[in-house]
């Protein structure tokens, strides 16, 4: 006779840096329902934005999320620049390239971060350590260009705050050249290792129909065959100039393996995009010196590492917005866990939940912790261990390291 057991994950799991709560209802080994509770990071930023002036808001939204720390300010300034008719109308060309370079560097560091977490969840701590080790040169590049490893304060309405110095470019290119083989190594590790492949395949599948129904975005959508990418659909930054050669990465199976492949290939592509941008960046101004914001409504969209980020600004011509609406990509993606995690096993649960790359702070996930009694409780730590054990079982089933 089956019984429902509640298996909470979080909210203070050490490797899920943000407190967020997933409540899994299981029958035996199978997940039959999931409750997602968020709000632990809700700091009322939309309301705060109404009392700050336009220059200050760029700094405020930067701290919505630490990992995609350049997506939100970029999206915000695009929304305000929409009031002027769009980025292309006022932002100088050099600034467009700098914006894209920062944005793509952020994509690399974010995907590496995620890759490390996935490595840990499946019990390959080497992947975790190596992914985060190779993240450090990316943070060094940020520090060289912007002055900080995180929170770059680069975006302002009408341009960027700091220039990329000519003498820095050779070192940037050298670091990127050294990074490229590491990404190839991860591609090889995930693709060629039959144990990892078996572990990730068919876990947490989100079908194309489900992806559309839940309106998911980013790699979560592209892994399920939904062909959307704001960089191609509504180009911004250097992509406006039609000088960058790049690809939208699409997979069709929608499982964790597909999501991993999308992210790894995107990293490879980002390195190429940054190199092209560094080569093609013209000399010139980096700031349009915008003084006043006209009345109207503006919408800005960028392709953050997790997907489409959208900001909406309603302005009345004063120096503060009437309304600032922020919708981070994870807000749509995490909700889809309702169908992605259900039907899977508890050993796959951590992987599935992590696969959408939840940026909890972005979405303000609030998790409500249940107070039920007489339920078998497993914590997040145990769940990760379950996931790692499943990998070991697969390894044991293949004594020669590959399927018989």
């Amino acid at each position: 006779m089956s019984h429902k057991v509640i298996v909470p994950i979080g909210p203070y799991h050490p490797l899920q840096e943000e407190p967020e709560f997933f409540q899994l209802y299981v029958e035996g080994e199978k997940v039959v329902d999931i409750d997602i509770i968020i709000g632990y990071n809700h700091r009322g930023i939309e309301k705060l934005a109404e009392s700050k002036h336009y220059d200050q808001i760029a700094f405020l939204v930067e701290r919505i999320c630490g990992i995609c720390s350049s997506s939100h300010p970029y999206c915000y300034v695009l929304a305000v620049e929409d009031l002027f008719g769009g980025e292309a109308n006022i932002v100088p060309e050099r600034a467009l390239y700098i914006r894209t370079i920062i944005d793509e560097l952020q994509r690399i560091h974010s995907h590496l971060l995620w890759l490390g977490l996935v490595g840990h969840f499946i019990g390959y701590n080497t992947i975790w350590m190596w992914a985060w080790k190779y993240r450090e040169p990316v943070l060094d590049m940020f520090e060289m260009v912007t002055g900080n490893r995180n929170n770059y304060a680069m975006f302002k309405i009408g341009g960027v705050r700091r220039d990329i110095l000519e003498e820095d470019i050779p070192l940037l290119k050298k670091t990127l050249d050294e990074l490229a083989p590491s990404i190839k190594m991860f591609y090889g590790a995930i693709n060629d290792d039959p144990v990892i492949k078996a572990r990730l395949k068919e876990a947490g599948t989100l079908t194309k129909e489900q992806a559309i129904d839940w309106c998911v975005v980013g790699p979560t959508a592209r892994a399920s065959g939904v062909n959307i990418d704001i960089r191609r659909d509504e180009p911004y930054g250097a992509f406006l100039m039609n000088t960058i050669d790049w690809n939208v990465v699409l997979e069709k199976n929608g499982d964790v393996f597909a999501k991993t492949m999308v992210r790894i290939l995107e990293m490879e592509d980002s390195i190429s995009i940054i190199n092209q941008a560094l080569n093609k960046m013209p000399k010139g101004e980096i700031d349009a010196n915008v003084k006043d914001v006209p009345p109207g409504e503006g919408i800005g969209r960028v392709e953050a590492p997790r997907g489409e980020c959208i900001h909406y600004i309603k302005s009345d011509g004063t120096n503060r917005p009437v309304r600032h609406k922020i919708r981070a990509p994870s807000f749509m993606n995490v909700a889809s866990d309702k169908v992605a995690a259900v039907g899977g096993t508890i050993s796959d649960a951590t992987l599935t939940l992590a696969a959408v790359d939840p940026c909890y702070c972005c979405t303000e996930r609030v998790a409500v912790i249940n107070k039920t009694d007489n339920k078998k409780i497993m914590n997040g730590w145990d769940l990760v261990r379950l996931s790692q054990e499943k990998t070991n079982k697969i390894k044991e089933g293949w004594p020669n390291g590959r399927p018989e």
């Binding site: 809700h42 009322g44 659909d233 509504e234 489409e308 909406y312 749509m332």
Partner: protein, 144 residues
């Protein structure tokens, strides 16, 4: 037929105002009662992707805007409506059409207090359990 014409054709006289702000930003207004059918047509009929929805407390009422993305052309079609009854604001939920709307509407409900009729799970999303009832953070208090 391009997307603009498809929308105008499909929604007909439901559209009260049509405003092309720029090449990729189109705003149009419908009455609150027509929102459900309009969204159903845009999402199911035309296959546009729902990006998000936002609400704002204006003196004349609560304005709801639903943003839809036509990815092939990189255009955003924003459907606007004004809920005039500020004492008891409500509108039909679009969550029955697609599940991606569930969290978006829950957030607007808890921030602005707009009731989404027919929403499968209209309960708190972000605010704490002990947040006072009837207090909606994004509503404008009387600011002198």
């Amino acid at each position: 037929m391009n997307m603009r014409d498809k929308i105008k054709d499909g929604l007909g006289n439901k559209i009260k105002v049509w405003d092309e702000r720029s090449a990729r930003r189109i705003y149009f207004t419908v009455e609150p009662n027509d929102v459900y059918k309009s969204v159903e047509f845009i999402f199911k009929g035309l296959g546009l992707r729902f990006s998000t929805a936002s609400g704002v407390d204006l003196p004349e009422g609560f304005e709801m805007i639903y943003h839809f993305s036509f990815d092939k052309a990189g255009e955003v079609y924003s459907l606007r409506t004004l809920i005039k009854d500020k004492a008891r604001p409500e509108i039909d939920s679009i969550a029955p059409i697609f599940r991606g709307a569930e969290w978006v509407e829950r957030e607007i409900w808890e921030m602005l207090g707009i009731n989404f009729k027919g929403h499968p799970n209209l309960k708190r999303l972000l605010l704490a359990e002990d947040w006072p009832e009837g207090e909606f953070p994004l509503r404008r208090k009387n600011e002198s």
